[in-house]
């Protein structure tokens, strides 16, 4: 990692590079530039994750004419791909290096693709195609599901952490803050808050799970979003972050529409 990044920056292929640096044994995202190349470290596999795509998006918005490099995991690569599709990042302004996730992390995330396409570091491990948690939830009756969700959502403190950490939440103005649309004066917010966020994530959520990881109230948001992703896969045959055109960025064709009759 050290030599590749150093070469990229030295040769001027990128202006700066988002990678990681250790502080007292803690892994931390860091923007490497010409000046601090001596801080670069050899690559090592860790299970700690950061919203590094969000950091990239912020710096790219600040300096749109600069080229950035970034070290990504599988989910983060999907996030960047999705941002390309939604015109938030320019393809020619991002250089991607990929790292694989460990087996334990893939199992913990129940990740469907724990490695990026552009894999430079580490070994790709086997994907986990089924989510146990989601299966459990889907087998519950309507009433108990309703109670289950409301009991969990009851802990929400409306910190917007899930939105702020999400790599594909790129809107400048957020409808979740709109007090006419979402009840703005009660705490905890009612179920519509998280339901709406889940709906907005349709076709965008890349299943990185940062929202659940950051949630101070431990709301099982990931199951909600895994469900969203499953629906998108079923109805539109689309996996966010893959190479295909997103059915959500265009109106599409009659042939791509779901059927009018509801599945029961």
């Amino acid at each position: 990692m050290k030599t590749t990044i150093e070469r990229l920056i030295r040769e001027g292929l990128v202006d700066a590079f988002w990678a990681y640096r250790s502080f007292r044994d803690c892994h931390f995202p860091w923007l490497f530039t010409q000046e601090d190349l001596h801080h670069l470290e050899p690559w090592r596999q860790t299970d700690v994750r950061f919203p590094i795509v969000k950091l990239l998006l912020a710096s790219a918005r600040e300096n749109p004419e600069k080229t950035y490099g970034i070290l990504v995991r599988g989910c983060e690569e999907r996030g960047i791909e999705e941002l390309f599709k939604w015109n938030q990042l320019k393809r020619e302004r991002v250089v991607i290096l990929g790292q694989a996730c460990s087996k334990s992390l893939a199992a913990k995330c129940e990740c469907r693709k724990p490695f990026p396409d552009r894999l430079q570091y580490g070994e790709a491990v086997a994907p986990v195609m089924e989510s146990k948690k989601l299966r459990e939830l889907e087998q519950m009756t309507m009433e108990s599901l309703h109670e289950w969700w409301l009991a969990h959502l009851n802990r929400c403190i409306r910190c917007f952490g899930c939105r702020d950490v999400c790599p594909v939440c790129f809107c400048i103005e957020c409808s979740l803050e709109h007090t006419d649309l979402i009840p703005g004066t009660i705490l905890p917010p009612d179920a519509s808050f998280h339901l709406l966020r889940a709906i907005h994530m349709g076709g965008r959520c890349i299943d990185c799970g940062l929202c659940e990881e950051i949630c101070p109230a431990h709301i099982p948001l990931r199951s909600l979003h895994k469900k969203v992703n499953g629906l998108v896969r079923e109805t539109f045959g689309y996996t966010p972050g893959d190479g295909n055109k997103s059915p959500f960025t265009l109106l599409g064709d009659v042939s791509e529409l779901p059927s009018l009759s509801r599945r029961t």
Binding site: W148, P183, D190, A191, S192, L195, G202, L257, R262
Partner: protein, 169 residues
Amino acid sequence: MKHWRDGCPDNAHPLYREKRCTLKATPFEPRILAFLCNWCSYAGADLAGVSRLQYPHNIRVIRVMCSGSVSPHHLLRAFRKGADGVLVAGCHIGDCHYLKGNYMTLKRVRFMEEMLRFAGFDPARLRLEWISAAEGIRFAEVVREFTATVKGLGPMPSFDAVPRAFAMG
């Protein structure tokens, strides 16, 4: 702010709201909110009225320019504010006056239904129909049918988050 449904205070405790409902002697009358698109369905509803067709009075109509302009925000807000059912009606596919507006409606409503189901609400409370300006009879029929369905489902469960102990008990 007053609730538009039987004057319940806006964030009354779910128990309290339930009590009020059960104490009432009158049978449950669902409140149904309908979003009708200006160019087809609203005209269809108009035709139903002009032709003096009978349909239940449980429906409240909001006219929108295109069914594609109804966002999930509006649908959820309607449910939250006490609607027991929401009907979205627009032009038939291919007839939308904004060409592909109803494509969006279709994708959106399908998606919404599944999400409602996953959150434990009955997706049958949300209904999408294509009703053209000439289909007054069909409009009356849809309203009749939908009202019966929602009546069978009972009042909309609460959206308010509840303490765990209460939820489990």
